[in-house]
């Protein structure tokens, strides 16, 4: 594949000039970029996801359309090929995450975190800390639980459990909540900000909470 500058990539990928040379440069750029994306995706998924070659080509094709559609948003702050590869990775990983989590409902994820009333934190059954330490730990847990219950909405709690505790991808949580990745990140950020403010208001030093469990 010939080395192209960013300007050459853009010129060749944008609407081709209506002559034979222009058309053939355009088609060659498409072929080269698609091949580059397929190769890149092969490296991107290695050790992460098991993906058949045909799927990599589908992802590359989908990414190619997105790239062509978004050529005007390329700011030229990196190599064009770096920018194109990041889009392809995002397209592929979003789909692979969707498939990996497709059978998991938010309800199932959150259920184990619902307190049935007879919950004893594992720390209280652990014999290693002193009674005083255990009392301290229990108080910390109860206080933080109280703050979470009072400060966060159901949606915030659910999102926090799914993303932070269970590692569900943000976009997957967002999809199930009828939201999008950006809005869900903001929802989580708001939740953390509320908790931080309330802890400061109550004079609970987070460092002290963490130290109690050292």
């Amino acid at each position: 594949m010939p080395k192209r500058t960013n300007q050459e990539w853009l010129a060749e990928l944008k609407s081709p000039e209506h002559n034979q040379a222009g058309l053939s440069a355009h088609n060659q750029a498409l072929v080269d970029l698609r091949a580059l994306l397929v190769r890149g995706l092969g490296y991107a998924v290695a050790n992460r996801y098991h993906v058949p070659e045909a799927d990599l080509e589908d992802f590359a094709q989908e990414a190619l359309l997105k790239i062509l559609d978004g050529l005007d948003t390329f700011r030229g702050e990196s190599l064009f090929t770096t920018w194109a590869n990041k889009i392809a990775i995002n397209v592929a990983f979003s789909e692979l995450r969707r498939l990996r989590w497709k059978d998991v409902s938010l309800q199932d994820l959150v259920a184990p975190y619902e307190d049935s009333g007879d919950f004893t934190p594992e720390v209280l059954t652990d014999s290693s800390p002193s009674p005083e330490q255990r009392m301290n730990q229990r108080m910390m847990i109860e206080k933080v639980q109280e703050i979470i219950n009072e400060e966060l909405t159901d949606r915030q709690r659910t999102a926090m459990i799914a993303v932070m505790m269970e590692g569900m991808p943000i976009r997957e949580v967002a999809r199930r909540m009828g939201s999008n990745r950006n809005a869900l990140y903001k929802l989580l950020h708001d939740a953390r900000s509320h908790l931080k403010a309330r802890m400061q208001l109550e004079g609970i030093s987070p460092q002290k909470v963490l130290a109690a469990f050292e």
């Binding site: 998924v45 990775i89 184990p112 847990i141 990745r181 950006n182 990140y185 950020h189 900000s193 469990f213």
Partner: protein, 81 residues
């Protein structure tokens, strides 16, 4: 009522302590990540030059996964040349 195990409490408290008002969203991080990765590859301290991107990568598993993948791709493609 939400049930808290100590490990979960620690994780949550850590995320809460480090919360800052100027965090990037995933889309904003995505907008910068190609430049960030190229700086890393050039041996420059990208985390210091772009602290908000670094902060987002530390707290967002999905963006971090894509960052690592992009880094791996560029390294592998360079090695091919």
């Amino acid at each position: 009522m939400m049930k808290l195990e100590p490990a979960m409490l620690k994780k949550m408290v850590h995320a809460v302590i480090t919360t800052r008002p100027d965090e990037l969203t995933c889309d904003e991080c995505f907008g910068e990540i190609d430049r960030f990765v190229e700086m890393e590859l050039a041996g420059k301290n990208a985390a210091e030059a772009m602290p908000l991107v670094e902060d987002h990568l530390q707290r967002c598993h999905d963006c971090h996964e894509e960052f690592e993948a992009l880094l791996a791709v560029l390294k592998a493609l360079h090695a091919e040349e």
